[in-house]
């Protein structure tokens, strides 16, 4: 199946990534090739097979353990904000989003 340039533009927007204009054509050809190879999956009989989301079910693990709903962390605002590219008044800052 051909992945067209307009498909590339759509997924760029969804992924919040921008490819340089001169790379889009090459990337669409590349993806067309990759998906051509992926399409061999259509040969597999998957009738009645449930999608496998995790290997844990194979091990008979039906539920994952729950923790007690208690506070075990906190008071680490400075540690968290130390990695923030921009912070003010104890908060992350972003460009204005409300007019």
């Amino acid at each position: 199946m051909e992945i067209k340039k307009q498909d590339i533009l759509r997924i760029e927007r969804l992924a919040r990534l921008t490819l340089p204009e001169d790379q889009r054509q090459g990337f669409s050809e590349r993806l067309t090739k990759v998906f051509g190879w992926i399409d061999q999956l259509r040969e597999v009989d998957i009738e009645g097979v449930t999608p496998m989301v995790t290997p844990l079910l194979q091990m008979g693990i039906q539920t994952t353990p729950l923790r007690h709903d208690t506070i075990n962390d906190g008071d680490c605002l400075d540690k968290i904000l130390a990695n923030a590219p921009e912070a003010q008044h104890g908060s992350f800052t972003v460009p204005k989003v409300v007019e």
């Binding site: 992945i3 498909d7 590339i8 759509r10 997924i11 760029e12 969804l14 992924a15 919040r16 990534l17 921008t18 490819l19 990337f27 590349r30 993806l31 090739k33 990759v34 190879w37 992926i38 061999q40 999956l41 259509r42 040969e43 597999v44 998957i46 097979v49 449930t50 999608p51 496998m52 989301v53 995790t54 290997p55 844990l56 194979q58 091990m59 693990i61 994952t64 353990p65 729950l66 923790r67 680490c76 540690k79 968290i80 130390a82 990695n83 923030a84 590219p85 921009e86 992350f92 972003v94 460009p95 989003v97």
Partner: protein, 487 residues
Amino acid sequence: MTDLVALSYGALRQKLLSKSVTVQDVVTQYVRRMAQTQPLNAFVTEYTDQALNQAAEADRRIQSGTARPLEGFPLAVKDNCCVEGMRTTASSKILENFIPPYTATVVKRLQDAGAIVLGKTNLDEFAMGSSTITSHFGPSINPWKIKGDTADLIPGGSSGGSSACVAGLSSLGALGTDTGGSIRQPAALCGVVGMKPTYGLCSRYGIIAFASSLDQAGPITRTVEDASLVLREMAGHDPKDSTSLVYTVPDYTKALGQSIKGMKVGIPKEYRPAGLNAEIAAWWDKTIQWMKDAGAEILDISLPHTKYALPAYYIIAPAEASSNLARYDGVRYGLRVPGGSLDDLYAKTRTEGFGDEVKRRILIGTYVLSSGKYEDYYLRAQRVRQRVTDDFTQAYKKVDVILAPTTANTAFKVGENITDPLAMYLQDVFTVSTNLAGLPAISVPVGLSNEGLPIGMQFIGPALQEERLFQFASVVEQAAQFKGIGQ
């Protein structure tokens, strides 16, 4: 005292406990070796001063008779595992200055057992690759060379820095992560032991997520025993990772040297395609013979969906990655490129912060999860994943373990990089099925190619049968008598 870096932990520990050497002697030698092997580019960031300080503390413990199970074990940590206060980049520009405020559980456990972190090792950006060439910090170099040739070779990947430093004697052991072969493949190409545990055996808390249903951390070491010692300390349930199994971790070292007489080894015909590298095929046959010599029974088996594992993986892994990597948005941590609007800031940050291969996989993942494609690609791949897994379930009704090559080729030269994405993805052909099924596997070096490059074989086991894998791996280790660098 000159060659402490060449010793296994078992041998080293004897010397430490008998007080014929100190941890400070050991760490000093490793620090010197790290400096000598700088051209390997195995480490992204070194923490040698901290390591020397910890060595002094370890010596005090040994003096006072309170040595812990891995006291003084010099450890390198793949740079996608967070360590509090140590820069953790995932070899990406987008995390170039990230200093984690917490430590990954697997690292914490190894530190609590006495291991000393020497530094953080290079990987393909966000672990996406099989060579370290996609690292923002440039590729690591394999300490092995082709006989009579000085050209640099890739160490494999994504845990290429971890494998290179263990093989190059600049760390005794290392942590790797394996999403589609990223522990076993570089271990094989560097002539060291690499163990990918059962999904859920080790906590993923604090490990920078690539594909959450596939990722698993594990040890890279020079001996099977060292791998068993490290895994024993890092494994076990962690309340901070709900997918980590509630499981009593056995003493894996007890499996070492146990007889495999009468046990059944499966040889999957799908792993011997026409055109398989003849030397690798020959070493596979030799390993099969060692199994027979040790009294094991060899059975031909079939894993019929093997050829579909790789295309299924290249839907599932990018899909999960596109979701996991959505968090890198320039707001809370990491690179930020200013933009006029919030959306503009996101796009500019991600465009500048991610390398080409990571972008490619995010876009593939976004595509297969997008409206109208989800069922046809993502759900189909998950159903094929079940088929791949069922193959193993059927096989383990007949055999105890499966034996196959770890890689299709030996290490290739830096600069001879594979540019065709399909050819590059095929590097993972022998390893991804195991991740899809969540099974444990161990790669052991068996010998050298005619060019003088290491070749590895892997044992794949049923879920939570790590003991059995160590048992078989130790038999191969004994038979192969593989000599690593400096041995």
